[in-house]
């Protein structure tokens, strides 16, 4: 029911929305909850376990009951708090966690079985027969459990992540927060002011009242206007600070577009990373329910929420309201209702000594012991001393006291402190370095107290930041002492709920304690108390009190569970913004990328790079046909492939050679200028890190090549070795991978092809040599190296000429019966030749395993040399690199067994790392690691791949299958 003249909603702007298929009318400024209440809708959800009818309990993000699904054009969002979702024209919502209609939820039968569904019942049954768990019990449990549902469709919505740096972060824009922001802003500090609500003011809006003689809202508007006028202030409304992390880093979720119809590019939400050396937590306090019998019916609400709906939204939560509270603030709610013309049937205040000022029936020292009303509250039963009586009412406003909203202060493991006078936990100063609580969040309950505390907190922050605070006057405001008496639960016959969302009752807590789950963590985990969407914001302290009572311990001894981020749930899409599709990792493109795609080459991810798999020709049905052709092309004519992804590190200085001697197992200081050498690099633990060729370009100038996969790894490794062990050596190095486009030209006609475009012919450049060259007027580098086994060269030009050179090379190659070749052919060529890749050097492989122990120079120390001497890394028990030859298909990943032995782990002889069909040799070839393999050449071994259904006899041989003398490379 709307109350004329109350609230800050814009009654000139109507919003039509739907809930469970029915149309309703709200106003701009309404939440779904306030609009539903205004329309007299009380039943909005079903509880998690018993599927009890539930209504709206709160007016904030802590809402445990009123969770709904918001239906968008392309997708839907589950578990949306009706108390947070703002209404707009066209908003479509529906209730969730029901089978059938909300009113007639079939799963409500669970409530009848409640006695058999007590805490932890599922740990004690469903164990027989074994197979029934997955097939029967669990599916049933899963279907019944859960709340809202995802659509299963990709979330196409726009999301954003952003950073902000400030001197001061103010969390919450109530009296304390606004005052703190104002004081800090006037002193010139960079301030970020974040508040969960669309409007500033917090309790000042919810409670109304006056500040400095004027309506609170007017004061708020004045402060907001000033803050918005200052360039050093950033106001983030609809923004919840969700986590406190190390060194002044805070996570915050901004609801950017959720209160509007979806718009392209408009983020639904933005996840902020806010960095501030100081922060003030002014998040206020949360009101506690009372665990009295049958306290979960729609219409039973928090007193503060009832007050907020009245003052902020102009909505009466009921026609005939009763109050059950042990706080003065709830009595104020009653007075606000009366003043607004809403009937208050009675005030039930358990405090015998509480004052009576309201002109309504007040029952002191009384308690509510029962309620009625199937889908909404109809009446309550009150017990006063010996007598008990019934009161007709459709809305009960309850208050068992207030809990400071201190969650962020315990995100770093420091547990809050119990305050006897407040009967609540309060923050421990310094719990989160740089974060200071002020106002109700710190246990200062009066408005004036909050204003003063906010001012003081800002002044303290300013002096810590080395700034001087100006004089800011604190407006006169309500300053009554915090009148309350803790009341946790009321004894009675019916169930009394603590955790509404998870259906945890006082009985469950007492049972858990009795069953040995008496520590607070055990109780929580056994009963699921506090593990629902509200994370126990409404119920944890009450549950703790009940547990303390059940175990005969005090509340502080019983302790509290740790609060962990996020304060309110954050969507995966918001924290994962930017990760969708290709955004997850940078994409790296070769200069030849377009030219390769122009030829229809499928591009394969290798690390962050994209490289061509093969270059299909018309008439080729499979990748293998193309691959076979490309291999033959290289062997018989000439092939061109882009090798720019290999890491290139330019190393210069008098000690460059000495440095390479230290990081490579073999010696480079003796390498003549103009020559290239294959190098093996170990990790300090003796395993092979990487391999590649390094060239000596000048007396003090080397160029190291790494594999594509290990380029970054090697750079980091070299930086470490140099900075840690030889910082004073005369040498510097830098990656030049991106500065050069480099292409391999291989095959019998490679020389002819290159001579046709180089300004000077290759001449007698020997194998494993390098030289400066010029092509098309451009400085180039020429290396005579081969990864294919053919006479091969690599030509490098500055990156900007890469595409032009690649296209030119292909054009020329094609006139010679050659052309481009891709990763597939490259892999076949290297296997035929016995070269290894990271499929072989996979991190568990030593130089000995690949037969390169002689490459570990005995004359010098090098990284990894010592650890490689460990006894377990030598001898016949080690699996050693071998070649495999087979007449039929074989597979990488297969394991090797002695013929005649059972195929089981105990008999495992090794495994296959790479295989290919060799068009050159007309056989299936493989590389494998085999126990004592080098001694077993010629032996027949059984290759078994269960997964691909392959069982093949192979000949063990030397890994070099093709041209073992290397005549073709040196030709």
């Amino acid at each position: 029911m709307r109350i004329d003249g109350k609230g800050i909603i814009d009654r000139t702007r109507q919003a039509r929305f739907r809930f469970d298929g029915r149309d309703y009318q709200g106003f701009k400024g309404d939440t779904l909850a306030s609009a539903l209440l205004a329309n007299g809708v009380r039943l909005v959800g079903r509880s998690f376990k018993y599927h009890r009818p539930r209504g709206i309990l709160t007016a904030g993000s802590e809402e445990p009951n009123a969770l709904v699904e918001v239906i968008g054009k392309t997708n839907r969002t589950p578990n949306v708090r009706a108390t947070v979702q703002e209404v707009f024209d066209g908003l479509e919502t529906r209730s969730q966690n029901r089978m059938g209609s909300l009113k007639h939820d079939l799963l409500a039968v669970n409530d009848l079985f409640a006695p058999f569904l007590s805490a932890g019942f599922y740990y004690k049954t469903f164990m027989w027969p074994r197979a029934f768990w997955e097939k029967l019990y669990e599916p049933a449990i899963r279907r019944a459990a859960g709340l809202g549902s995802l659509s299963g469709r990709h979330d196409e919505g726009a999301y954003e992540k952003a950073w902000a740096h400030a001197d001061l972060l103010v969390i919450g824009a109530g009296p304390a927060g606004l005052m703190a922001a104002l004081v800090a802003a006037r002193a010139g500090a960079d301030v970020v002011l974040a508040d969960e609500n669309p409007v500033l003011g917090g309790r000042l809006i919810a409670e109304g009242g006056t500040l400095g003689g004027e309506p609170a809202a007017v004061w708020v508007a004045g402060v907001e206007a000033e803050l918005r006028s200052l360039p050093n202030v950033r106001i983030l409304t609809r923004t919840t600070v969700t986590g406190a992390y190390d060194d002044g880093t805070y996570g915050a979720l901004e609801r950017v577009g959720l209160h509007k119809p979806a718009r392209p590019d408009l983020p639904r939400e933005c996840f902020w990373r806010i960095v501030a050396p100081r922060a003030i937590l002014a998040a206020g306090a949360l009101e506690r329910p009372i665990a009295f019998p049958m306290n979960d019916r729609p219409g039973i609400m928090m007193a503060g929420a009832v007050r907020s709906y009245l003052n902020r939204f102009g909505v009466a939560a009921g026609k005939r309201v009763t109050i059950f509270a042990s706080t003065d603030s709830a009595r104020a709610t009653a007075r606000d209702l009366v003043a607004a013309g809403v009937q208050v049937a009675a005030i039930i205040d358990p405090r015998p000594d509480a004052s009576v000022v309201e002109e309504v029936p007040v029952h002191l020292g009384a308690e509510v012991i029962d309620t009625r009303g199937r889908h909404g509250l109809r009446s309550i039963t009150v017990r006063k001393g010996a007598e008990s009586f019934e009161i007709e009412t459709d809305c009960l406003a309850m208050s068992g006291g207030w809990n400071p909203t201190l969650h962020l202060t315990s995100h770093m493991n420091v547990r809050p402190r119990w305050s006897e006078d407040l009967a609540a936990f309060v923050p421990v100063e310094g719990a989160v370095p740089g974060l200071f609580a002020a106002g109700a969040a710190n246990g200062t309950m009066s408005t004036h107290g909050a204003l003063t505390a906010g001012k003081a907190a800002a002044e303290a922050a300013l002096s810590a930041l080395g700034r001087v605070a100006g004089t800011v006057a604190v407006p006169a405001a309500e300053d009554a002492p915090y009148g309350h008496r803790a009341i946790w639960s009321v004894e009675g016959r019916g169930r009394a709920w603590l955790d509404f969302a998870n259906d945890v009752t006082t009985k469950d807590i007492r049972q858990a304690a009795k069953e040995s789950y008496a520590s607070v963590e055990h109780m929580k985990r056994y009963t699921t108390q506090g593990m629902a969407p509200d994370q126990g914001k409404n119920s944890n302290v009450g549950a703790l009190a009940v547990l303390a009572d059940a175990t005969g311990r005090g509340i502080p001894e019983t302790g509290t569970t740790t609060f962990r981020p996020p304060y309110t749930p954050v969507s995966i899409a918001a924290m994962g913004a930017g990760g969708r599709g290709a955004g997850f990792a940078p994409q790296r493109f070769l200069t030849s990328d377009q030219a390769s795609r122009d030829r229809g080459a499928p591009m394969i991810e290798t690390g962050l790079w994209y490289r061509p798999g093969y270059f299909p020709k018309r008439g080729e049905a499979t990748w293998k046909e193309a691959c076979d052709r490309e291999v033959a092309m290289v062997r018989q004519a000439v092939g061109v492939t882009d090798v720019s992804t290999l890491g290139k590190i330019d190393i210069q200085g008098k000690d460059a050679g000495r440095f390479l001697d230290f990081v490579y197992t073999n010696t480079f200081s003796t390498l003549p200028v103009g020559r290239v050498r294959y190098g093996l690099m170990l990790r300090e633990d003796g395993m092979v890190l990487d391999d590649g060729t390094s060239a000596r370009l000048g007396e003090t100038h080397y160029l190291m090549t790494t594999t594509t996969a290990a380029a970054g790894l090697v750079m980091r490794h070299l930086d470490f070795v140099q900075q840690a062990f030889c910082a004073d050596w005369d040498l510097r190095f830098i990656s030049v991978t991106e500065s050069w486009a480099q292409f391999a030209v291989a095959g019998p006609k490679a020389r002819a092809l290159l001579d046709s475009l180089l300004e000077m012919p290759i001449g007698d450049l020997p194998f494993m040599a390098c030289a400066a060259a010029r092509v098309g007027g451009v400085e180039a580098r020429l290396f005579r190296i081969s990864f294919s086994g053919e006479e091969g060269f690599e030509i490098a030009v500055p990156t900007r000429y890469g595409e032009a050179l690649f296209r030119d090379l292909l054009a020329r190659a094609e006139t010679m019966g050659g052309g481009p070749y891709g990763m597939e052919a490259l892999n076949v060529l290297r296997i035929e030749k016995g070269f290894i890749t990271h499929a072989e050097i996979h991190g568990r492989i030593t130089a000995f395993d690949i037969g390169m122990e002689k490459m570990v120079s005995a004359k010098k120390d090098c990284i990894g040399k010592a650890a490689a001497q460990r006894p377990g890394l030598w001898g016949p028990e080690r699996e050693q690199l071998v070649g495999l030859k087979a007449t039929g298909p074989i597979s990488a990943g297969a394991h090797l067994f002695r013929p005649g032995f059972a195929v089981e782990r105990e008999n495992d002889q090794g495994y296959v790392t790479s295989v290919c069909w060799s068009p050159t040799l007309g056989a299936w070839l493989g590389q494998a690691f085999l126990k004592d393999g080098r001694a077993r050449h010629g032996e027949t071994i059984r290759l078994v791949d269960h997964l691909r259904d392959i069982d093949m006899a192979c000949e063990v041989c030397d890994p070099v299958f093709f041209d073992p003398e290397g005549g073709r490379m040196r030709a």
Binding site: M127, R130, E134, L150, G243, F584, P871, G893
Partner: protein, 416 residues
């Protein structure tokens, strides 16, 4: 008291007033035959199997906090046997077999659910590496199926097959892999051990280890000195500190592993999915929450809480792999303290002190190992000999080079 459906029914009828404590709350005795330091999953299962398999019932489990308060109560509940190196293979295979009978053995429903685990791969190289793994699993007697892209699509149609940064080439399906209710595992073992006479002593922190000329004598605790001829250190997460009391310096670095759970949702993910390229894995609990996580925060820490960079990385991985979870909201995040060893495999071994045994280095594979770890640790403590399936988990293997490095990342603790 034996648990059963009938018991639940009967208790329901009389208002659940008859339930008895799941375990006693005894005061520590002056002496025990064996002491287990650490009341986590591994410690409790060690005590249970000492009693059940070896008849050693005069045992105390000393827990500085509350039972199951360590990583057994802070993990993503995945149970699998998909290792490929001899040494790991047989151990986790043995563990999975124990899991499959655990409910009836413990008379406690730990909700072990074999919903199937899929490891996705994104290149031919990864496919072959997983093939090697899958074949090793089958050679060990476990199960594995290699799925191609279409096979994965059939199983997990909601993944993003079109736009994800690292296209899905296929996956290795481990049908017997799955999940269990983590707390229930600790409680089930605790109750079962207690019923066999083991004393479970909570809020009892070990402050010293008494050694006399190379032999264990007992321990000093916040509840007094307790003597024992055999002591097992089973405190993954704190192994370094406790071992130091016996003068040991371990090959272990402690790291944070964060994990996340969303609000409850109706069933949407049936399997356990692991996305290697993104260091992301996910499953859905019976309560409906999506339970997921990623890699370590990577810096040594005992804070049991992490920071945003890894949080964001995990969420981004989820969004590139399966954007349908975008609107699920993360309800809670937590961090466990991982014993990271230099080869990613655990240690179950004797120490230089006679009668002092060590069970540690579980990296982030500890949960699924709970049954076999206790089984083998109990065997070692009872017989003085390593159990057949755990004989490679030696403390000296790093010195000798007999490594069990599944990741192949070498002697850098946080890379495993």
């Amino acid at each position: 008291m034996r648990y059963s459906g009938w018991k639940v029914f009967a208790e329901g009828l009389r208002g659940n007033k008859g339930w008895k404590p799941a375990w006693r709350d005894p005061a520590p005795k002056a002496e025990y035959d064996a002491i287990i330091i650490g009341g986590g999953g591994h410690g409790l299962s060690t005590a249970y199997y000492l009693a059940k398999n070896h008849g050693i019932t005069n045992v105390a489990v000393l827990e500085k906090g509350w039972l199951g308060g360590g990583n057994v109560g802070r993990n993503t509940t995945i149970v699998r046997a998909n290792y490929f190196l001899p040494g790991n293979s047989e151990f986790y295979s043995h563990s999975l077999k124990l899991w499959e009978g655990l409910e009836r053995d413990l008379n406690y429903n730990v909700m072990h659910s074999q919903r199937g685990l899929v490891n996705l791969f994104h290149s031919d190289g990864q496919r072959d590496a997983f093939a090697r793994r899958g074949n090793a699993m089958i050679n060990q007697g476990d199960d594995a199926i290699l799925l191609d892209r279409e096979g994965v699509r059939e199983l997990l149609p909601y993944l993003d097959f079109d736009n994800t940064r690292f296209p899905i080439h296929g996956g290795l399906l481990h049908p017997r892999g799955g999940t269990a209710r983590h707390d229930a595992v600790a409680w089930g073992y605790a109750r079962a051990a207690d019923r066999r006479g083991v004393d479970l002593i909570q809020n009892c922190e070990v402050t010293g280890i008494d050694i006399e000329n190379g032999r264990i004598r007992g321990v000093q605790t916040t509840r007094g000195a307790i003597r024992a001829g055999k002591v097992g250190i089973v405190v993954a997460g704190r192994s370094g500190q406790v071992a130091a009391m016996a003068g040991m310096r371990l090959p272990i670095e402690s790291h944070i592993l964060q994990a996340f759970v969303t609000e409850g949702l109706k069933p949407v993910i049936d399997h356990v999915i692991s996305f290697g390229m993104g260091h992301f894995y996910i499953s859905q609990s019976d309560k409906g929450g999506l339970v997921f996580g990623g890699d370590l925060d990577f810096y040594a820490s005992y804070a049991a809480r992490g920071n945003l960079p890894m949080v964001e990385h995990v969420m981004e991985a989820g969004m590139t792999l399966m954007p349908m979870i975008g609107r699920a909201r993360v309800l809670r995040s937590w961090g466990g303290i991982m014993d990271m060893s230099p080869d990613g495999s655990p240690i179950i071994d004797k120490t230089h002190v006679e009668g002092l045994f060590l069970d540690c280095g579980w990296n982030y594979g500890g949960f699924k190992a709970v049954p076999a770890s206790g089984w083998c640790m109990a065997h070692l403590m009872a017989t003085g000999e390593s159990h057949e399936v755990a004989k490679r988990f030696r403390l000296d293997r790093f010195a000798t080079g007999h490594l069990l490095d599944e990741e192949g990342t070498g002697s850098q603790h946080n890379l495993h």
